[in-house]
């Protein structure tokens, strides 16, 4: 879709800088700000990137982790001011852009090959 110049101008200041170039299959740690009443704290969510939705300022990414044998997925807005930082834990080698097949796998099968191996 063609974006109008006016919309591009509005969106331009919303883009965040300093986001590492992580890819699908990488394991990332997302430091996410959570406001509870008056207090603010940072929650870390670590997992495999299942999907990156590249759509300008509306870009999102999905992270999956297995927490106490229950699969948990979170969709983060890439440019959200609530994200404190994103760390890349390890690079993964994958052959597709959407890793939804991981949902049907468990345990040792549900691993992504590390780029270092």
């Amino acid at each position: 879709m063609q974006t109008s110049n006016i919309l591009a101008k509005i969106e331009a200041p919303l883009f965040r800088e300093g986001i590492p170039d992580f890819r699908v299959g990488d394991t990332v740690r997302v430091h996410y700000r959570i406001v509870e009443g008056e207090k603010e704290r940072i929650q870390v969510f670590q997992g495999v990137v299942l999907k990156r939705h590249r759509a300008g300022v509306r870009s999102t990414f999905t992270v999956r982790k297995v927490s106490f044998t229950v699969g948990v997925e979170r969709i983060f807005l890439l440019h959200s001011p609530r994200i404190d930082k994103v760390e890349i834990v390890s690079r993964g080698v994958v052959r597709r852009s959407r890793l939804f097949y991981l949902r049907n796998l468990a345990g040792k099968a549900a691993r992504v090959r590390d780029a270092k191996d």
């Binding site: 006016i6 919309l7 509005i10 009443g37 300022v57």
Partner: protein, 233 residues
């Protein structure tokens, strides 16, 4: 009648922005920049209103009577001309040729009504027009998939009741979206960001004015923010 201050503008499209707390606001962008090209006064016309113009119109596309009206007030011809009813006090604030500034008329958080002309869908069936479910597609159905079904009973009353939802022309009518919230104002570009959708396609004329059901939508008590605290006990 809605006599709250307003503007006419062009719908640019939709985008999203982040609020101060990091929440996403889905917004419609409207470009204002309308010019006062005339006034209606109580003494002369029996009511008060501002006549607003938007966009430039080429001289060769301007009819002689229209050109005369613009010449009288010493202005270039405008593409769109609309009257907005308003209070005499509001009309007195503006002079001919003055551009209505979005930050003077609106404030962030204000409730507004947006009026536009919806997309024309032509002659549409009941599924599109009235969100009917259609008929089952198996169990011996023959040439009866997107029909509306029965339109009434037999002898009593022996006619189809008025107002029944049937196929017909859909869209291309004036639609108002009420009580929308102003998310952001960009006075340097005459832009207004309104939370939520506004009727009509892009490049469409929209009228935005203070919310009629919120007494203009300004100066309302702020809604209580949920604190997110856990309940005691």
């Amino acid at each position: 009648m809605n006599q709250h201050p307003g503007i006419i503008g062009k719908k640019i499209g939709m985008t999203q922005i982040f609020s101060e707390t990091g929440e996403v606001l889905r917004c419609t962008v409207v470009q204002a920049g309308c010019v006062v090209i005339g006034k209606r006064t109580l003494e002369k016309d029996g009511y008060s209103a501002l006549i607003l113009g938007l966009g430039e119109r080429a001289e060769r596309h301007t009819t002689k009577p229209l050109a005369g009206a613009f010449k009288k007030t010493g202005q270039t011809p405008k593409r769109i001309v609309r009257e907005l009813r308003c209070s005499p006090e509001h009309a007195a604030k503006y002079e001919l040729g003055q551009t209505l500034k979005v930050d003077e008329i609106f404030e962030v958080g204000q409730r507004v009504d947006a009026q536009g002309r919806s997309r024309g869908r032509g002659f549409s069936g009941v599924i599109r027009r009235w969100s009917f479910a259609g008929a089952v597609s198996s169990h011996g159905t023959h040439e009866y998939f997107r029909h509306g079904g029965s339109i009434g009973t037999n002898m009593t009353p022996g006619r189809t009741l008025p107002g029944l939802k049937m196929p017909g022309h859909y869209g291309d009518e004036t639609v108002s979206a009420l009580n929308l919230k102003i998310a952001k104002l960009l006075p340097e570009d005459d832009l207004i960001l309104i939370e939520g959708p506004v009727p009509g396609p892009k490049n469409q004329l929209v009228t935005i004015r203070g919310a009629v059901k919120k007494r203009g939508g300004k100066g309302l008590p702020k809604p209580v923010q949920p604190t997110g605290k856990k309940k005691a006990g």
